[in-house]
């Protein structure tokens, strides 16, 4: 009995003494840490990432998709003579809310979008394994119709809603999974679906602190229309290079449209038939409000 009491007391003493080294208090700290810089840019190749410009930051993106490898690409200087262009301006209202406008030359589409970061990946107490960012856009086709039919303004609209799940596995590897819905107000006939369902898979792998490999691939629900048009799965691979306020993204993809419904749900190029395009996105940020 006595033995037990003494042991017990010693044990309690030790509990007291265990705290003796004041630096042990450092280890008890369990702070919540949010994942940062899951991706370098606000888009991967074509697909949006979870990233948004910070609060008060204006971002200007200029993107090109050059001519295809199937069309006399040496004569056209690797397609550079036939560039399609997109310009985008977006602004971080808060660190989690981002709005923007853009114009892409394929079908002369003007779009506006809202992006909201909801869940944020974190470690520590109550960890969250993934980040979830929501994105919605409205797209207006400016190109004239050549079918000789009078079209309503609403015929020109298409919508895109996307849930972007991302995870930063470690300092090098981040992945993305984005199910999305594209809705077309106008399709060739009543048999064709107005809404298509898509899922984008993407990843980036950092090679150095300021350079990363990227890739994306999308699954699509609708691969043809009754009028004979055939749609292919879009994919792209690229390199991200970051220099201070700029991010340069160079890539090779089978897409030319740059507003989301067009490249995602109505991409008609096939890499097997030479439908491969060099392209780049360059972003520059301006801090308007500290």
């Amino acid at each position: 009995m006595k033995c037990l009491v003494i042991t017990l007391c010693l044990l309690i003493c030790q509990l007291g003494f265990a705290q003796e080294d004041v630096f042990d208090l450092f280890e008890e700290e369990q702070a919540k840490e949010y994942a940062f810089a899951t991706f370098k840019g606000t888009q991967l190749v074509n697909s949006a990432t979870n990233e948004t410009p910070g609060a008060g930051v204006l971002q200007y993106v200029i993107a090109h998709r050059f001519g295809s490898f199937g069309e006399d690409y040496l004569y056209n200087f690797l397609g550079l003579d036939n560039a399609q262009i997109r310009m985008q301006l977006d602004y971080g209202i808060t660190d989690r809310l981002n709005v923007g406008i853009g114009r892409s030359s394929v079908f002369k589409v003007v779009d506006s979008f809202v992006k909201l970061r909801t869940l944020r990946q974190s470690s520590g107490p109550n960890p969250m394994p993934v980040s979830l960012t929501l994105l919605s856009s409205v797209n207006y086709r400016g190109a004239r119709y050549t079918d000789g039919v009078d079209h309503l303004t609403t015929d020109r609209l298409s919508y895109h809603h996307q849930a972007i799940f991302t995870r930063k596995w470690n300092s090098k590897l981040s992945t993305l999974f984005s199910p999305s819905l594209v809705h077309w107000n106008l399709v060739p006939s009543v048999e064709d679906p107005n809404s298509t369902y898509n899922a984008t898979l993407g990843a980036r792998y950092k090679l150095t602190k300021r350079m990363a490999l990227t890739g994306e691939y999308s699954l699509i629900s609708n691969k043809s229309y009754s009028d004979g048009s055939v749609f292919t799965v879009p994919f792209g691979v690229g390199i991200d290079i970051e220099t201070g306020g700029h991010v340069f993204q160079f890539h090779l993809s089978n897409t030319r449209g740059m507003s989301t419904p067009y490249w995602l749900s109505r991409n008609s190029y096939s890499a097997l038939n030479g439908g491969l395009f060099l392209g780049f996105n360059i972003s520059r940020v301006f801090t308007l409000r500290d």
Partner: protein, 169 residues
């Protein structure tokens, strides 16, 4: 009876030990590596500071991702490219306080160096106050600064610590 005696003594002993310790998890720590060309400043208000009056041991620890910059992109670059917060999440100082100096080991970006810096440790009505300002040579801690921005970043960052520690119960 003897049991309670012993228990009482040991409890007393254990409280006696921890009663000399001071702690805060809300210390402020800022750094400035700016130049006339660019403001590069950040602050955290969640630094941990500890002090053991019996041994003179003093320590400060900070989570790198807790630093707040004015510009989100600068904060991202700081964590991603300069201090590599995923690899090296914490920076710490562990040492002793004696006569106006804190002396010990400063660990940052995975590199540990012995340092001695002038510091003030004084008991105030709010608690045990610890203050110090010193410079660190970033290259000594393997924080590499690309040539293209070397005119914007001061290679000697000024660190300012202000922590008010409470006596531990």
């Amino acid at each position: 009876m003897k049991f309670f005696h012993l228990l009482f003594i040991s409890l007393l002993l254990s409280t006696a030990v921890s009663a000399q310790q001071f702690l805060t998890r809300e210390g402020s720590l800022s750094f400035d590596a700016g130049s006339p060309l660019e403001d590069i400043m950040a602050e955290t208000k969640s630094a941990t500071a500890v002090y053991d009056a019996a041994t003179g041991k003093i320590g400060v620890q900070v989570l790198m991702t807790s630093f707040n910059f004015k510009r989100a992109l600068m904060q991202e670059h700081f964590n991603e490219n300069y201090v590599e917060s995923v690899k090296y999440p914490k920076a710490s100082f562990k040492g002793f306080y004696t006569d106006g100096f804190a002396q010990g080991e400063l660990t940052m970006h995975g590199v540990t160096k012995s340092v001695q810096v002038p510091a003030v440790l004084a008991e105030t009505k709010d608690g045990m106050e610890f203050k110090t300002t010193f410079k660190v040579n970033l290259s000594e801690y393997d924080v590499s600064i690309p040539k293209t921005v070397s005119d914007k970043i001061d290679p000697y960052a000024t660190i300012t610590v202000f922590c008010v520690m409470k006596k531990r119960p």
